[in-house]
């Protein structure tokens, strides 16, 4: 295991060094473009609902729609072939190429043909295959693999492409600029296209009612490939079928924005083949229109595991995916390394876990699945509302449950009362059972804190569990928040304090259960105390009962069974605090995200809704109190200059503005960061194999916070992970925003 980790760390480091800059520049541009062009779209949320509903309906009725599209294409004069797997699809296309005695086959970009290695198959017939998309062409010459599902050569800089062309074509006049490179590639490829015998394209969408295929492109190569030769083969996964041609509209509006951040790509071809356009005659002097074309169209619909995905309750949602790449571009880890580290045999990014598990098998997903940290930044970006982190959690669970028992297993036994199979990987169990560790460490503090400083302890932790020794470990407090609260008089004393502070204008007479998440309870106890005092000063009585961990830690390690048990225990522990009287206030955003998000998958609907409806993030709650008459002057209002980094899940839930607003109403001056994630993401940054990546991600946040106008500001951040990461990256110590508001 330790050797595997070292190897994985070295591989990631190499990719960071060789292609990190190119990947980062390009994905950030796509990401910015997406936010901008989505802003222009009034109906964005409604279009996403519509798109997801169309896909769900299509997946439900898939067998019936496949029959319908087959009928439609045949009526139009084409042929449909339903290919069971990669070999079957390859055989079929090779047969067409042989029958046509094709010498030159031109391809436009298609991930589905990558999935089945179709270019290799066609070459086995003796025909030349040309990738006519410029990015794919670069990879073909370089014998390289795509690193991004939309922009496949994103990891190569202009300089590298120039060197590649200059050497490959042995050019006397070396190419340099992007214009020169483009012109050169176009000339080479134009020759191929103009003399092509067969064209192979993908299809972004296929409509069952008319047999129409939609191709979303920008370079114009797909249009030319379809127009020039008489034979056209379109290869598409069965999930590309949508019921009607009218269903295309939301996708046409969403796909360019979600992909490269353009409101629409140069060309959206809506073709109902065989097309009527005359093919290009071979003879230069022949009039084009003289010869009515004898066009031949084949639609190859590929199963290759998709029908089984459809039957798999958890993987099924993956089939909605339109491969737009929004979940890649919005992912902080992906922005640093691209698809060569964060990708499997064919697909890349968070959703690749679903695709790879479905079409190539879980082994292919295993190599990169940990790079999805569950930060959830992609969730609101997906045009078909796929819960990408959840798919990663499920596949992580399946992979790990299938793994072998390790030789250090005895070290966590007894300590880790988890629900997962005995063979579940040790590192995942260690982080997944953080709560048990924290309890023990707090009970034995400060001895437990000294223990980790003993020679050899960090080496063992790194060797056995992969906890990187460069990370500072949390320092546990002897007195937990729950104990402190009891010692100062519990709920009764809190009620008195709150009533004393209460202003008559406050229109709110509920009580708050402050949820003592594991970190707030044992490690960052100060922020918990501040939260109690801030609630009281705003006039709300507080209770801090002993409630177990939310299950976030085990869930992030794919330990769904353990997480589910914890969720049930949380609900049980809160039962005596009647919903009619008590709200639940949460300090740690990732735990609030559990209550409002993942619990839907872990609990019965009524239990989930009851808790989700009465749960609030601490400053969201404070905002509500201020809106209902609480007095901001009871907060600490010393007009500080603050630099605020919101937590990933807090932003996904749309809660960041509340924190900013409360801080401002208390008279503070707030500037915010705009990076997607701090890079720590729970336990991710502690792991030996991901330490470098975590620090690389964090570096963007660091540079924002040391820039002019930011360097002098007090750093505030809501999440524990962000806190740890910022603490490590910056000279100055971060604070939870509630501490800035605590006048104690």
């Amino acid at each position: 295991m330790a050797a595997d980790r070292r190897e994985r760390a070295a591989r990631i480091k190499r990719i960071l060094e060789t292609s990190g800059d190119s990947v980062e520049r390009n994905t950030l541009a796509f990401n910015r473009g997406r936010y901008e062009t989505i802003d222009e779209l009034d109906e964005y949320e409604a279009l996403k609902d519509r798109a997801a509903a169309i896909k769900d309906d299509a997946i439900d009725r898939l067998p019936e729609l496949i029959d319908e599209v087959t009928e439609a294409v045949e009526e139009n004069g084409g042929t449909v072939y339903l290919a069971e797997d990669a070999a079957d699809a390859n055989d079929y296309v090779e047969r067409i190429v042989r029958e046509r005695e094709a010498e030159t086959v031109v391809k436009s970009k298609s991930m589905t043909t990558e999935e089945i290695d179709l270019a290799d198959g066609i070459e086995s017939t003796g025909a030349d295959v040309w990738e006519t998309d410029l990015g794919e062409f670069v990879l073909q010459i370089a014998d390289d693999a795509p690193s991004h599902i939309v922009a496949p050569a994103i990891h190569r800089s202009r300089e590298e492409i120039a060197t590649l062309f200059n050497e490959y074509y042995d050019l006397e006049d070396p190419l340099e600029t992007a214009d020169e490179l483009t012109a050169f590639a176009r000339d080479v490829l134009s020759d191929a296209i103009e003399n092509a015998d067969v064209a192979v394209t993908g299809a972004n969408f296929v409509t069952a009612d008319t047999g129409t295929i939609a191709l979303v492109t920008s370079e114009g190569n797909a249009r030319k490939c379809v127009a020039v030769p008489e034979t056209h083969v379109a290869v598409a996964g069965v999930e590309k079928v949508v019921p009607t041609v009218g269903d295309l509209r939301p996708f046409v509006e969403l796909i360019g924005r979600s992909a490269t951040g353009q409101s629409i790509t140069s060309y959206v071809s809506l073709l109902t083949p065989p097309i009527d356009t005359p093919a290009l005659p071979d003879d230069p002097g022949d009039r084009i229109a003289d010869d009515p074309p004898d066009r031949d169209f084949h639609l190859v619909l590929l199963d290759n595991g998709r029908m089984a995905m459809r039957d798999d309750e958890q993987l099924r949602e993956t089939l909605r995916c339109i491969r737009c790449s929004a979940c890649l571009n919005s992912c902080a880890n992906f922005q640093q390394v691209g698809g060569h580290a964060f990708g499997g045999e064919t697909y890349s990014g968070g959703i690749a876990t679903g695709w790879e598990a479905g079409v190539h098998g879980e082994d292919s997903a295993e190599t990169f699945n940990d790079l999805c940290t569950g930060c959830s930044r992609c969730v609101n970006q997906c045009p078909v509302r796929i819960d990408v982190p959840w798919i990663n959690t499920v596949v992580r669970n399946r992979i790990a449950n299938g793994a072998d028992r390790g030789r250090f297993d005895h070290l966590v036994r007894g300590l880790v009362p988890d629900e997962e199979a005995g063979g579940y990987p040790l590192q995942k169990r260690l982080f997944g059972n953080f709560e048990s560790l924290a309890k023990l460490a707090s009970a034995t503090a400060p001895v437990s804190n000294w223990l980790v400083d003993l020679p050899g302890t960090r080496a063992t932790l790194e060797y056995a569990f992969g906890v990187d020794r460069r990370r500072e470990l949390p320092t546990f407090e002897r007195e937990s928040l729950v104990d402190w609260f009891e010692a100062r008089g519990g709920e009764a004393a809190s009620t008195k304090r709150a009533n004393r502070a209460r202003t008559p204008s406050l229109e709110h007479d509920r009580r708050a259960v402050l949820y003592p998440d594991v970190y707030t309870n044992y490690v960052r106890v100060e922020r918990g105390k501040a939260a109690v005092r801030v609630l009281e000063s705003l006039g709300v009585p507080v209770a801090v009962p002993d409630v177990p961990g939310s299950g976030r830690a085990p869930l992030s390690q794919g330990m769904i069974g353990t997480a589910q048990r914890q969720a049930t225990a949380v609900v049980r522990a809160l039962q005596s605090y009647a919903p009619a009287e008590y709200d639940v206030v949460v300090v740690e955003p990732s735990d609030l995200a559990m209550f409002r998000g993942e619990y839907e998958k872990l609990l019965p609907p009524a239990a989930f809704e009851a808790l989700a409806d009465r749960s609030y993030e601490i400053l969201e709650y404070a905002y509500g109190l201020l809106e209902n008459g609480a007095d901001p002057d009871t907060l600490r209002t010393d007009g500080r200059r603050l630099a605020y980094h919101g937590h990933c899940q807090q932003r996904t839930l749309g809660l960041e503005p509340y924190t900013v607003s409360v801080l401002e109403r208390a008279g503070h001056d707030v500037a915010t960061s705009d990076v997607e994630c701090c890079g720590m993401a729970g336990s991710f940054g502690y792991k030996r194999e991901y330490y470098e990546l975590s620090v690389a991600v964090g570096d963007r946040l660091r540079s924002q916070f040391v820039a002019d106008g930011m360097a002098d500001r007090t750093v505030v951040t809501s999440g524990t992970s962000c806190h740890e990461q910022l603490d490590a990256l910056l000279e100055r110590r971060p604070l939870h925003p509630v501490r800035v508001l605590d006048s104690h």
């Binding site: 127009a227 509209r249 629409i264 073709l271 084009i288």
Partner: protein, 181 residues
């Protein structure tokens, strides 16, 4: 509030194409300014304008060689979409698809009355066309483009320049030949 036509022209320019206005009377002179010879063309999908009696010569029944050597392709669009600056091109049994795709410069005519507000309105027209006639159509926006070579470049396999000529066919429109962009 600006009108649909103005929003269309703004969006076309935003998509890195130029806009021009003409009437059936002025189309000859507008096109003579925009065409770089040799030019090939396909008859537009409306009767208001004909490529036959232009002061410049446009080959409407080109050979393979004429198509591949042409500098300009002239075609007509069935729709303009104001919110995107897109034109909708047909790909019929004539040479329209080839002519709008191969030459470096594409000059595309669209009637003012065919410009619609948004994608929803465009689909209202496109759906019956595709469902009933099994027509092929391309929603084209600006020139062909790529970012695959390390920077944004216009002009890859499709045209490098796109010039959109709005043909005003309603009775009170007659504001001449002025190009805007």
């Amino acid at each position: 509030m600006t009108g649909t036509l103005e929003r269309f022209e703004d969006a076309v320019r935003g998509a890195t194409a130029s806009t021009h206005r003409a009437t059936p009377e002025t189309i000859g002179s507008v096109l003579s300014e925009l065409l770089v010879e040799p030019a090939v063309g396909a008859p537009p999908p409306f009767d208001d304008v004909s490529l036959a009696d232009l002061p410049v010569s446009v080959a409407t029944e080109p050979t393979r060689q004429q198509l591949l050597e042409a500098s300009t392709g002239v075609t007509g669009a069935i729709l303009g979409i104001a919110s995107y600056g897109s034109v909708v091109l047909r790909s019929t049994a004539d040479v329209d698809e080839l002519v709008s795709l191969f030459p470096d410069r594409h000059v595309v005519l669209v009637r003012d009355r065919d410009v619609v507000d948004d994608m929803a309105a465009a689909f209202d027209d496109l759906v019956p066309l595709i469902a009933d006639e099994r027509a092929d159509a391309i929603v084209a926006t600006g020139p062909s483009a790529t970012a695959d070579m390390g920077a944004l470049v216009y002009g890859v396999h499709g045209p490098t320049e796109v010039h959109v000529v709005v043909v005003r066919t309603d009775s009170h429109a007659a504001d001449g030949t002025g190009g805007t962009g």
